[in-house]
Amino acid sequence: MLDAAIVLANFVVIPALSYGSLLALGALGVTLVYAVLRFANFAHGDTMSVATMMAIYCTWWLQSLGIDFIRPLPTALLAIPFAALGTVGLLLVIDRLVYRHYRQAKAPPITLVIVSVGVMLILHGLSRMIIGVDEQRFFDGGRFIVSAGEFKEWSGLKEGLAIKSTQVIAIVSAVTLMAYLFYFLQRTRTGKAMRAFADNEELALLSGIRPQKIVTSCWILVAVLAAVSGTVYGLDKVYKPFTYFQLLLPIFAAAVVGGMGSPVGAILGGYLIAFSEIGLTYAFKRVAGHLLPPSWVPDGLLQLISTDYKFAVSFTILVAVLLLRPTGLFRGQAS
């Protein structure tokens, strides 16, 4: 019984929690832009990629200086603030050069979506040109908090439980950022102004809210979210421009499932997508083996769909939500 729970925790719950946290951060970035600037920002995945690239260069620089006082935590955590600053700069420059023009021309949202696809391609090309298409590893420090072997010895169980330090970093940083984001949106003056602007732009302008300030603070939030989620994903898995490009799909699925424009929805959507991607492709044979008497255990793997179809899961959820409940679980704006 306990063994079954451990297997499930090791292969489903913990990976899905950390993956879900990062998807939630990504979806928050997408949803914020959608709420405030009113377009679906396809460039978000590659913004994360460029942010991570900055973090990697910073990490290498810090490593070459021999700065390692935060061991056993990875040096890259120190690099995140620099990367976030760089990303803020990048997004503000892009906004000034690209998006502002279309905003002032009062372009319809679909135009902005296409514009963001252009930005996405440019950022993608940029990261491929600067750091290259290969995988980059920049993790250092202690890899495990609990390793499978140690856990088995300590608990005397048949199954091991491994908790990677990066998984904990992912969950902790996501929860911290989310908490701060809600505090910001609910309690601070700028946050309230942002929500007002999102609810009704004209009314907000009439009450004297400066639109440029709202736009700027929105991009700052998005940049920080992108830098943290991108870097931590790269730490946990591996950095490769193409993988970040692919991340766009589950991130959008998460944002749409939760309801575009709803921060709570984005977070729940992130976890929902992560748990369904991992849960539906997981083979439950070993869990069943611990729960059922041996003669009842089936020969098959008890796997709903093959892992090859992992990305199809997010697609299917995306399509189902758009068909059945276009506003998402939390009644965001219909897209």
């Binding site: 297997v7 090791n10 292969f11 489903v12 990976p15 993956y19 590893r137 890899r143 495990f144 390793s147 499978a148 072997g149 856990f151 088995k152 091991g160 439980l161 491994a162 990677k164 994903y233 898995k237 591996v238 490769k240 193409f242 993988t243 692919q246 991340l247 991607e277 991992i278 492709t281 997981y282 083979a283 439950f284 044979k285 070993r286 869990v287 793997l301 008890l302 796997q303 093959s306 892992t307 090859d308 992992k310």
Partner: protein
């Protein structure tokens, strides 16, 4: 305008006549210098180039012809790119024969789209798919690497002798992975082993925890990773180490290399596998030469690569022609008995014997013995990873 045309014509005549006066033989070497096995190919190409420079320096080939190598990138995975690169070798660089390709899929594509239409001989050092044994080749295709049907047998023997009666198998989703995993599971199960799961993985993904979850659920005494060490194969092992899913990994030829050990580290100790390789004295010569150029000549397919280039050049001497169409029928004769045994470093001597009408039996760095449709009979090196080093346990 007329004057210009005359000058141009003169140039063309001059350049043609320079080619004719002193024969320069060109060998195309097409390996995946970028892509999933890019960490292996530089040493492989070095092997081929060593044989070429040895022959070229001896001055004994076809009355003093010089040989040069033209490299091209097969990418290992993209058949369209590989075909275009090979086409360029044949039409623009006018190579006499091709050493390569490296991975089975692109090798098959080059064979069908470039080598056969143009009548170019190609010898691959590393394409191991059993499918290539039965591919239509007009007698143009050879390989110094054995078919994976043989590797499947060797892997089965190693596993059962070491006492692993049940394994999980994951393979990279391409010609090589599918063919080796299929023939392995057939042979292994026929010998009494149990394959708990035989599933594919895609290269180039960021995260393999779902794949490893399924493999772990199926269980088994060890995990057979049929993939590439710079790609999904490494990702699978990393994810498995992270979750503690398996402790022992079986590494076929595409997975064996220093970069795997650098990336994974200690958890790899105790894993084992096999790669084509042999214990002929010939390897010593390569290792010595390699040390001078800081190349690890013990790496997989380096000896086979040397042998592939050497066989082509020796066959040219035997045929007394540098044309592919003439040399294809002499490859078997120089590779197999009867004749004087030839090791690496003795190519000059071999050329002299052939020029005098003698016969040779090329042994080379990989104990070359061609069988059936022109492939190596297959000597394998059983390796084990001990304290972060790839140690050769024995030869099979």
């Amino acid at each position: 305008m007329k004057k210009f045309a005359v000058i141009l014509f003169a140039f063309v005549v001059m350049s043609v006549s320079t080619v004719n006066s002193q024969e320069t033989i060109k060998l195309g070497v097409i390996y995946g210098f970028t892509g999933p096995i890019e960490s292996l190919t530089p040493a492989m190409a070095w092997g081929a180039e060593l044989a070429v420079s040895e022959v070229s320096d001896s001055g004994a080939l076809l009355n003093g012809a010089s040989v040069e190598v033209v490299r091209a990138d097969s990418t290992c995975t993209d058949s369209a790119v590989a075909t275009a690169a090979a086409e360029r070798l044949v039409t623009a660089d006018k190579v006499n024969a091709i050493v390569g390709g490296d991975c089975s899929g692109v090798t098959g594509a080059i064979l069908q789209n470039v080598a056969r239409p143009n009548g170019i001989v190609m010898i691959s050092p590393s394409a191991t798919s059993p499918g290539l044994s039965v591919a239509e080749d007009d007698g143009l295709f050879f390989r110094t690497a054995p078919s994976d049907a043989r590797q499947a047998q060797v892997m089965t023997d190693i596993l059962l002798e070491r006492g692993y009666p049940s394994v999980a198998v994951t393979y990279t989703n391409n010609d090589y992975g599918k063919a080796l995993s299929d023939s392995f599971s057939t042979v292994y199960q026929a010998a009494g082993g149990k394959v708990t799961i035989n599933t594919s993985h895609e290269d180039g993904k960021g995260d393999y925890s779902a794949e490893v979850g399924a493999l772990a659920a199926a269980g088994g005494d060890a995990l057979v990773v049929i993939g590439y060490l710079d790609q999904g194969g490494r990702g699978i092992i990393q994810a498995s180490v992270d979750t503690g899913a398996f402790e022992t990994y079986i590494l076929p030829d595409g997975m064996i290399g220093e970069s795997l050990i650098e990336n994974i580290g200690d958890p790899l100790n105790g894993s084992f596998g096999q790669a084509p390789g042999s214990d002929t004295q010939g390897v010593a010569y390569l290792i010595e030469e390699g040390a001078a150029d800081s190349i690890d000549a013990k790496a997989v397919f380096v000896g086979e690569s040397y042998d592939a280039a050497a066989l082509i050049l020796l066959a040219m001497q035997a045929a007394n022609s540098s044309k592919s169409i003439d040399i294809k029928d002499h490859i078997f004769a120089v590779a197999n008995a009867p004749g004087e045994k030839i090791l690496p470093g003795e190519l000059g001597q071999a050329l002299t014997i052939l020029a005098n009408g003698g016969e040779i039996d090329y042994v080379g760095a990989s104990d070359v013995e061609l069988i059936g449709p022109g492939e190596a009979s297959g000597r394998y090196r059983e390796i084990e990873i001990i304290d972060g080093e790839i140690e050769t346990v024995r030869f099979r």
